[in-house]
């Protein structure tokens, strides 16, 4: 007699679904529900309809926080993805001896972000910091700044730290992708007289299009998730110049106890990230098929 196993797989899925339900689904649903309330996290919960969303739409600082995060993402695309691509190109040219170079570039990725943030806050410190001291030693006093205290430089300063950490990560991805480029293609290009720069620009980079797409998607969505660097290095300051949606909503919820308003901001942020992801995927799908390694 054939055993009836139709129910069994679903029964084994129950624990996993319970974990997913309580770790992901339940918080998402509750955050959405809280976004229609005014609540401090423990007192009386008052239903306020879409008031929190109207407040968010009229909140200059919340709107500005999206501008800041977009600038940050643009900067990190350059400092992480583009720099990572260039570094991968460099190490793939001369593979012998590049191991130490790769390890050195990748090491910051392994450091806890809070440690990195504290370390760089000291580097940027106006009074005791390494950067201003180095500028003074080279006779470049005019370039000295209060890097994290000047609205003109604070966001860029944080972006540079992010680049310092993640350029190595993207270098590793691209290096792996370059390794998959068929050697006969490279050899053929060399026979046609291509130099290293032409090989990089016209052969290698076009052939790792999918890896670049993934890297860009990771960089953009990761940018929206950015929090720890900003929280430790500037806490949204100076004067709100580095306030990004995550730091702003965390302040709203955890400092001021506005769980309802913070939840509404979280819902808006999630919607923006999902929408951007969908647009990115759609645009990428409509492009002609990339030559894949």
């Amino acid at each position: 007699m054939k055993p009836n196993r139709r129910v069994t797989p679903y029964l084994f899925l129950v624990p996993t679904m319970a974990v997913f339900g309580f770790a992901v689904l339940f918080p998402v649903i509750m955050t959405f529900a809280y976004s229609f309330t005014e609540w401090n996290g423990y007192g009386t919960m008052v239903f306020v309809g879409i008031d929190n969303y109207i407040k968010a739409a009229n909140d200059t600082l919340f709107r500005d926080s999206f501008v800041h995060v977009l600038i940050y993402i643009a900067a990190t695309i350059l400092l992480e993805v583009v720099v990572g691509l260039v570094l991968a190109g460099l190490v793939s040219v001369r593979r012998r001896g590049s191991l130490w170079f790769r390890v050195a570039i990748f090491t910051p990725v392994m450091l806890p972000m809070v440690v990195v943030a504290v370390l760089w806050a000291f580097v940027y410190n106006n009074d005791f910091g390494l950067l201003n001291a180095a500028l003074a030693n080279f006779g470049l006093e005019d370039l000295q700044r209060v890097w994290l205290g000047d609205p003109a430089t604070a966001l860029l300063a944080v972006s540079v730290v992010s680049g310092w950490v993640y350029a190595g990560f993207y270098m590793t991805i691209f290096y792996a992708a370059f390794s998959q480029v068929p050697t006969e293609v490279i050899e053929a290009a060399r026979l046609d007289g291509a130099g290293e720069w032409q090989l990089f620009r016209r052969i290698k980079v076009p052939m790792i299009g999918n890896a670049i797409t993934v890297a860009l998607l990771l960089c953009i969505t990761g940018g929206f998730q950015g929090f720890d660097l900003f929280y430790v290095m500037t806490n949204g300051g100076p004067y709100g110049a580095t306030e990004i949606p995550t730091t702003y909503l965390v302040k709203s919820v955890f400092t001021f106890g506005n769980v309802g308003y913070g939840s509404a901001m979280a819902v808006v942020l999630t919607a923006v990230v999902v929408a951007l992801g969908l647009v990115f995927t759609r645009v990428n799908r409509e492009k002609p098929e990339n030559v894949s390694a």
Partner: protein
């Protein structure tokens, strides 16, 4: 599949799911019924932690059926989300640290502050404190907090050696303060160190300054949301903050560094003055034992406020109204404030408010002076972040930081506060 296997599989799956569901839903309803007395606070520093642990050991020795569990959180974490999380957790604290003022009233309104009136009048805590101190700790005719310390939230600390070398005396008036700033700035010394990244450090100092200009009533009503900030007197008060910026009174990095980094400028002799609270005494003794320092209250300002006012707040311990061990908690607080333990806290550079503290011989003269200043102050100004709504306080702090950093004019800054608060 046999019926037995089906049943077993279903049972395992259901048990697993139930376990997960129960663990996920385990958020508590407040107090727990075990024999553990839970005490929560922001970290008071190593020296005081040793005293607390000793008091806990004494209590356990006297009450063998009770275990005392101390929870020392990061200060900022405790002040914001830490305490609310604990109070709403499964093992909520039976005793917790709190600031008098708006925060205490909120705890009472939310049902987290037990009525301690009997405990302090006829119970184990009776006679340990001057009765007058309970006035600010009473909500709806019920005493809801046992005081522990009175913090002066801001004075102007100065480096005696730098002042002596520069031939300066501590400023007592606004004009003297600006002249002192000019003299120190000319010598390449930072006049006043401030680490205001988190906004409260200079915020408390400058808020006190504005209260001296607008008057205590106007200050309190604006921070309570009863009146607007955008008035001529507030613009005038913010004008004095602009004067500080114009005279290079504070370090250029003030709004980029935190309170610890700001203090380091003072400890290392890079700055001649530091505007911060009474907790600097034990901090400086720990980190800069060679530093010769003293304090003056905020120099008098031209304005409507009491020019001898002191910005300060009483801190203490609340018994959780949801605790099933309120009597045990009261006994612990009595033990905490007995003669022996009060002297131990004095040895840890904290001067408790218990009456027996005045008999202590080892109180640091600066700490004793600050307590005396607070007790004899003709007017006490509450710090915005502990005495009033935190969002309002933050809006005021942010506006003050903008003017101090030269980012806003006084007019724009005060208008911005009302705009931000809606």
């Amino acid at each position: 599949m046999t019926d037995r296997r089906k049943v077993t599989t279903a049972a395992v799956a259901a048990l697993s799911a139930t376990a997960l569901i129960l663990s996920g839903c385990a958020a508590g309803d407040g107090g727990s019924d075990d024999n553990v007395l839970r005490i929560a606070m922001g970290s008071p520093g190593e020296a005081q932690i040793r005293v607390w642990d000793h008091v806990a050991a004494q209590f356990e020795a006297a009450n063998p059926d009770v275990t005392v569990e101390m929870n020392y959180q990061d200060d900022d974490l405790y002040q914001t989300i830490g305490l609310p999380n604990l109070l709403n957790g499964r093992n909520a604290p039976d005793i917790y640290f709190e600031w008098a003022g708006a925060r205490l009233e909120q705890r009472a309104a939310d049902g987290f502050a037990a009525d301690l009136t009997d405990a302090v009048t006829t119970g184990p805590i009776a006679g340990l404190f001057d009765e007058k101190v309970f006035t600010s700790l009473t909500v709806d005719d019920a005493v809801v907090m046992v005081p522990h310390a009175a913090d002066v939230a801001n004075v102007l600390w100065y480096n005696e050696d730098i002042f002596a070398d520069a031939g300066l005396t501590p400023p007592t008036t606004w004009d003297e303060l600006l002249a002192t700033c000019d003299a120190l700035d000319a010598e390449g010394i930072i006049p006043i160190a401030s680490g205001n990244k988190d906004l409260w450090a200079a915020g408390n100092w400058l808020a006190h300054m504005t209260s001296r200009v607008v008057g205590e009533d106007v200050y309190s009503s604006a921070l309570s949301g009863e009146t607007d900030f955008n008035t001529p007197e507030w613009v005038e008060a913010f004008g004095y903050v602009k004067d500080l910026a114009d005279h290079n009174c504070v370090n250029e990095s003030a709004n980029a560094v935190d309170d610890n980094e700001g203090a380091q400028l003072f400890f290392q002799g890079k700055a001649a003055m530091h505007a911060i609270g009474s907790w600097l005494v034990s901090w400086a003794i720990d980190e800069a034992p060679e530093l010769n320092f003293d304090y003056v209250n905020l120099p008098s300002m031209p304005g409507a406020g009491d020019q001898d006012s002191v910005i300060g707040v009483v801190t203490g311990y609340v018994v959780n109204a949801k605790s099933s061990k309120q009597d045990v908690a009261a006994e612990f607080l009595a033990l905490l404030n007995n003669d022996e333990n009060v002297q131990a806290f004095i040895g840890a550079e904290l001067t408790p408010m218990a009456l027996s503290a005045s008999t202590g011989e080892d109180i640091d003269s600066r700490s004793a002076g600050l307590i005396d200043m607070l007790e004899t102050a003709p007017a006490i100004v509450l710090p915005p972040d502990t005495g009033y709504d935190l969002e309002t306080a933050n809006a005021l702090y942010a506006a003050l930081a903008e003017v101090l950093g030269g980012q806003s004019t006084p007019e724009d800054a005060v208008a911005g506060i009302d705009q931000k608060l809606g």
